[in-house]
Point group: C2
Chain length 393, copies 2
């Protein structure tokens, strides 16, 4: 039993957060009141097509308040740039005064871009990068319906560029919503494999922001609390989806994960995960979950104390050394991956290990994330992590 040292990284930081949060079961009913207070007259809803019933109810309530609403439904996964353009065309004129995104991270990313660039969608590529977007014309409400991406709390919007199949990010404070509305009831119908995958994505945001070369004391608290909430509830939310307590905790944990993405962001798991999505169609959260143990074991020697604190936040007891505590945390992570049947989910995909060298090469180009990683990842390390993560391929 050692005593863990604590560190307080307090370098200069600039951070933007959503100014208003409404959280609670059934709270989607408050939406018309907010829109009336804002004086919204012309609302565009961008929503996941699997949510037609709930979204229909919500838009009827908005219309009853005398506010015009248009809805565009879109596919809830991996939007391409041309999908964004298509959504904007479908919305048509006039440009809305308020955009409401309702869905998982991909749908919210589209909604965020509609609010900022909906009047000039063809220019999207010009804004890829950090801080290029200079304003947003429409008010923006984000209503997350999976507990995962944390897009509602982040300045990021990520699209697949169909020209080179790479994921590209527009990052700007103007992509942070005016209001986040989290109604955990909307997550109850999310199927187990999606709950598990998106939940691990959220857990990964928190862990990668905490064990990060640019970790910051401002964000450390969000991250550790997100880790506690998710690790303590993901198995129950996955396997007993109607447990509203677990759903509430997951919704809050994933929001806290989103708050980590602006000031600190993620690291090697996310960088190595992106090519797996492009090459084999692996969902983002599932790819992250499968990679996490091997990446964290690789990183552990660089930050044993931080990985130990992550383990404590997950609910592990303190062991004889920071390294041992951290390793117990990684074992608990593997246990949660099993409890959530994520390796089962992997069987639907064909992973071709002969592609690992090429995937590693692609991953190493995502320097905006790899620069955050506590330990340098080279080609050999990246390939080794892929092999450890997919031992049966």
């Amino acid at each position: 039993m050692t005593h863990l040292k604590n560190s307080f990284p307090t370098e200069p930081v600039q951070a933007q957060f959503p100014p208003a949060l409404i959280f609670g079961t059934g709270k989607r009913a408050t939406l018309p009141e907010t829109l009336k207070n804002w004086g919204s007259a012309n609302v565009a809803v961008v929503a996941a097509d699997v949510l037609k019933e709930s979204v229909g109810e919500m838009t009827r309530a908005i219309r009853s308040a005398g506010i015009e609403v248009r809805i565009v439904y879109c596919q809830p996964a991996e939007p391409r740039m041309k999908d964004f353009v298509h959504v904007c065309e479908e919305l048509g004129e006039p440009f809305p005064d308020t955009v409401i995104g309702i869905g998982g991270g991909s749908v919210l990313d589209v909604a965020k871009l509609v609010a900022a660039l909906g009047d000039r969608p063809g220019q999207l590529r010009a804004y890829v990068g950090k801080g290029l977007l200079e304003s947003r014309k429409a008010r923006l409400v984000c209503i997350p319906t999976t507990s995962g991406a944390g897009s509602e709390g982040s300045p990021n919007a990520i699209m697949v560029d169909e020209e080179d199949h790479a994921k590209k990010a527009v990052i700007s404070p103007h992509l942070i919503p005016d209001m986040v509305l989290i109604d955990p009831e909307l997550t109850v119908s999310v199927p187990p494999h999606v709950t598990a995958a998106t939940g691990f994505d959220a857990l990964c945001h928190c862990i990668e922001a905490y064990a990060n070369k640019y970790a910051h004391a401002l964000v450390d608290g969000f991250a550790l609390q997100g880790i506690s909430l998710i690790a303590g509830n993901i198995a129950k939310a996955t396997n007993e989806g109607t447990d509203i307590g677990a759903r509430r905790a997951m919704a809050l944990g994933s929001y806290l994960g989103g708050l980590c993405l602006g000031p600190v962001n993620t690291a090697a798991v996310h960088a190595l995960s992106y090519p797996l999505g492009s090459a084999f169609g692996l969902p983002h959260g599932l790819a992250n979950a499968i990679l996490m143990p091997a990446v964290f074991r690789y990183n552990l020697p660089a930050m044993p104390e931080r990985y130990a604190r992550i383990a404590l936040a997950m609910g592990v007891g303190e062991a004889e050394s920071p390294e041992a505590t951290a390793e117990a945390g990684i074992r608990l992570l593997e246990d949660l991956i099993d409890q959530c049947s994520l390796r089962e989910g992997l069987k639907r995909f064909t992973i071709d290990s002969s592609q690992f060298p090429e995937l590693a090469r692609q991953a190493l180009q995502i320097t905006r994330l790899l620069n955050n990683n506590p330990r340098e990842v080279d080609l050999a390390a990246a390939q080794s992590i892929y092999r450890q993560s997919f031992p049966d391929s």
Copy 2:
């Protein structure tokens, strides 16, 4: 060695936070740029009079950017309602488009009210209470220069009503600034006894928000991280005031404490502390510090696990039971009070123990805070806490 249970209170909550934070040594130099981006033309600065030199530099930089600035200096402690009216009169016409508060919690509270009610200061009493203020006309920047009150992150402004000598709070999302600028360099000149007292106030915000009947999983992470930052740095910031690392950690910790005040707020320590200020002139932070050990020992049986987690966040090792861990935390708190010479500071004040029954009666009227306390406080308990806290009186 037991294993601590974790709890995830996730009741409905509505929370507002400052949308932008700029944090870092020397970052006050970025202020003119922010004002230019906003298009500010007519700025009012409300500042603590002890800061004339730094404030002079900052306003010169703003003027050099072609922006008009007026400054009103005010006393840095316990403002009365008539002080607020006086500040508004001194500012005069026209009403500014932007208000910048620079100072400790009291000065920031005045600045917040100037931004919201500066055009009708005589109506202040009509807005005492929660949610009565319906808008704010001016943009608002808060620049805290003590690491204490956390006013920059809270929807509260507290004034002494000179008619009945009671502290009264205006609470509204419209009192949350558009931007918080934390430049820890501005706190370096704060003298030791003020650093200690305001730092304990900040620690108290975090602890009372975490060990609270209305504790919330959203806020728990802010609170625990604030506790770690403050407990780990308050002795150094007090006794080696030029240690910029300790100052940075304190500035961030007190900001996190401020973020706790909106959604959850404080409890019995703050309620029992207010009458001590009115009766004996005890500074708010000092009064809080002296009361904390006795109040927390009284509360401990109602929430042993939460007080144990507070102790762990303070850096205490886990003991054989939650109660023992929690008690070790309270002993560390007493140790920090000694290291910061707060009981020495008490010698400047005359505490008349014959007034304790009357003070207890007054404290029990502050139900907006006592309702949050994990254990009911009656007259006998309040008096007993006063006696334990001032054994020499």
